[in-house]
């Protein structure tokens, strides 16, 4: 397969071959990261602009490490203390990014769809590092890579995603990536935090909603806990965090309902003691640290694949 995408905005329209191409390239990047000299030259002379209009440390650092490992120059633009905070429009920010000569723009934004807006107005390749509730494609891909490393072929594997699904770009991207690879997904969590159509029998293909977490976990091959934003309780969607933990939190006893040794994942940062017990988060089943390492390699794979796209050449 020959890679032909200019941007990585969402994986919802990707073919299985494209997902596989990224995962295979990720394997090669893992090997690069294991070398004594953790650096390879394919992005030499290229500039990667990290435009994070929403607070993020781990994703930004992960992209920065990925870009530097491939020898790119990295420019950081963050929301706080920047022109964005001073009231600059997204359109003007795009023009600035363009003038800076960025070849690849990695962007996070609180508005769903913002990366699409930018991709249509710049010559640079755009990678979506999370937009609103919409998508977080690199998280979906790194979760797929991590699950494949732990479970092998994902065909007929059943993965549980538990938590605040309605506000979660991670859940959407996990679904878009894991279902084409053959996995089935059981969504669980409070009905108030589930898209209403999804809990009324119209969940996306390959997924089902099971409000009872104990039942969802029974015999499952893996579980992904989503981060619970504390604002949700203030917004009246949850009676209390303690109740959430009692009903939807991942405890030792709960994860033991899964297949023996079935792994536990979390996109981070974790609220230990809320959606996941500390003993589970740091226990033998936890792949949380592996997710972080694999995240760098997945982002390297995408940066590498985009560097060859013709439009990047023209810019």
């Amino acid at each position: 397969m020959r890679w032909s995408r200019r941007h990585v905005l969402d994986t919802d329209d990707w073919s299985t071959e494209e997902i596989e191409a990224v995962l295979d390239t990720t394997g090669a990047m893992i090997e690069v990261l294991s070398r004594p000299v953790r650096r390879a030259p394919p992005l030499r002379g290229r500039t990667v602009v990290l435009f994070f209009a929403e607070a993020s440390t781990r994703t930004r650092v992960s992209f920065e490490l990925a870009a530097r490992t491939l020898s790119a120059d990295v420019v950081n633009i963050s929301a706080s203390g920047s022109s964005v905070e001073k009231g600059e429009s997204l359109f003007d920010t795009v023009r600035t990014l363009q003038a800076l000569g960025g070849d690849i723009v990695v962007m996070r934004h609180s508005s769903s769809g913002a990366p699409y807006f930018v991709s249509e107005r710049t010559d640079a390749a755009v990678i979506n590092a999370g937009d609103g509730w919409h998508a977080h494609p690199t998280q979906g891909l790194l979760d797929a890579y991590t699950l494949r490393g732990a479970l092998g072929d994902l065909a007929k594997k059943r993965i549980v995603i538990v938590g605040d699904v309605v506000h979660s770009r991670v859940a959407r991207s996990d679904i878009n990536t894991l279902v084409p690879l053959g996995a089935t997904i059981t969504l669980s969590g409070p009905p108030t935090l589930m898209p209403s159509a999804w809990r009324c029998g119209q969940a996306p293909a390959g997924t089902t909603y099971e409000p009872d977490l104990d039942r969802a976990l029974e015999g499952a091959d893996a579980v992904i806990a989503l981060r619970l934003q504390k604002e949700r309780q203030e917004g009246g969607l949850l009676p209390s965090l303690r109740e959430y933990t009692r009903v939807w939190g991942l405890s030792e006893a709960r994860v033991a309902r899964m297949r023996p040794g079935a792994p536990v994942m979390h996109p981070g940062p974790m609220n230990e003691g809320v959606e996941i017990d500390a003993s589970v988060a740091h226990g033998a089943r936890s792949l949380v640290e592996r997710q972080v390492t694999n995240g760098v390699a997945v982002r390297m794979a995408l940066l590498y694949l985009l560097v060859g796209t013709p439009n990047l050449e023209a810019s």
Binding site: M1, A28, P36, V37, A40, P42, Y304
Partner: protein, 139 residues
Amino acid sequence: MLAVRLRDAIRANENATVPLGSLDITLYRDDLTRIGYAPIVRESALDFSVDDKVVVLVDDVLFTGRTIRAAMDALVDYGRPRAIRLAVLVDRGHRELPIRADFVGKNVPTKPTDDVRVHLTEVDGRDEVELIARERVSA
């Protein structure tokens, strides 16, 4: 494959086993931004230290020398070999870089437009080197 055969021959004749690895040089190519797409990268497998070792690079056909330049750049990211040598099955000439092989199976005079294809029993079921003459395509 060629390196595997050399390793096996050394084992049979010298009763010594030399470590064997493989390098994917895609990330080190000098034409990545010129070819218009990103070629597939495969995993390199070098599970031994190259520090202070004499490392012999093995390739089937030596042509422009650009692949070997990329391989040397990749190799030094793994350590500092005492020396790097080059063994090739066919040297077809037309170098674009100051690189030469230390061990050559056969020198074959070619035109730059020719195609040299190496078939090995392990992959293609036969050992054969084909020289295919190509007419220069007029622009």
